[in-house]
């Protein structure tokens, strides 16, 4: 899985935001705000990773059950798919 090209993650005003540039900006003129975990997930997806790699990395970084992690990740991935931000 990978984020589609043309999205930039930056810290602005203390928040993690994602904006579209180039081609992507012609279709997406919104803005995404991510919390810390969301930004962590986004960064991994920017380089590209599998679902399991993602879950493992989060387990190492954060203190939470696998179940809770999967729930959070699944929710974010669903939103990203719906907004057409993900390449499988």
């Amino acid at each position: 899985m990978k984020t589609k090209p043309g999205f930039m993650l930056r810290s602005v005003g203390g928040r993690n935001v994602v904006v579209a540039i180039g081609q992507a900006s012609l279709e997406f003129n919104g803005m995404i705000t991510l919390n810390e975990t969301g930004a962590f997930i986004w960064k991994m997806l920017q380089t590209g990773c599998s679902y399991d790699e993602l879950i493992d990395a989060i387990k190492k970084e954060y203190d939470a059950t696998e179940e809770d992690i999967k729930t959070g990740v699944d929710a974010l991935l669903a939103q990203m798919r719906e907004a057409n931000l993900l390449e499988e």
Binding site: M8, R10, G13, R15, S25, M31
Partner: protein
Amino acid sequence: MYKIAGVVVDMNPKYPRVTKQSEAYKTDDTKPDIHITMPEEFIAERQKENPHLSLDECEYIWTGSAFYNLLPEFGGFLLHSSAVVYENKAYLFTAPSGTGKSTHTQLWLKNFEGSYILNDDKPAIKLEDGNVLAYGTPFSGKTDWNVNKRVPLQAICILGRGEKNEIEKVPPEEALFVILDQTCRPYDADKMDKLLTILDKVISEVPVYRLKCNMEDEAAFISYNAMK
């Protein structure tokens, strides 16, 4: 040469509007930071594409555009807003066209002696030595209400219509969303990166409010008292 928002511009306007509105921005500086070239053929082509505009208006719009596209390189950006100054502080009211920005800032002029319009359509916001400043520029939309001055930016206010006058602060992500919507959004990564770096500083230092207002004098007092 002209000096606009602290940037030395080498440009040679041919038509009356840019010529007249840039008069106050002339400078003795000899080293330009940027060059803006608007060949007559270019202006003529734009006018053909936009028959409702005159050649004069085309030069005005495209020169302004060229300037604002380059401004982030110098730590600044435009905000589509009406900027009013009172007590040497600038307050920028931003909203899509037709919402009532100018109507509201006119209420300030009416009620606050000594207040004036810095730029009624596209003031520049710029970072200089760690400070956030608002600048007048020659490009002020439909009117020529602009002053070549530089004033500390006190607050940005997102304006909307309402029956009652109310104002509240907004969180950074909401502020950023509106600001991105009311500035020229860069297409390429490099420019976007520069703009976001500037916005990071601006949003961290300058409070952003959302005002719902009607056209009564009270609206000006509500907004001023909350933001001063």
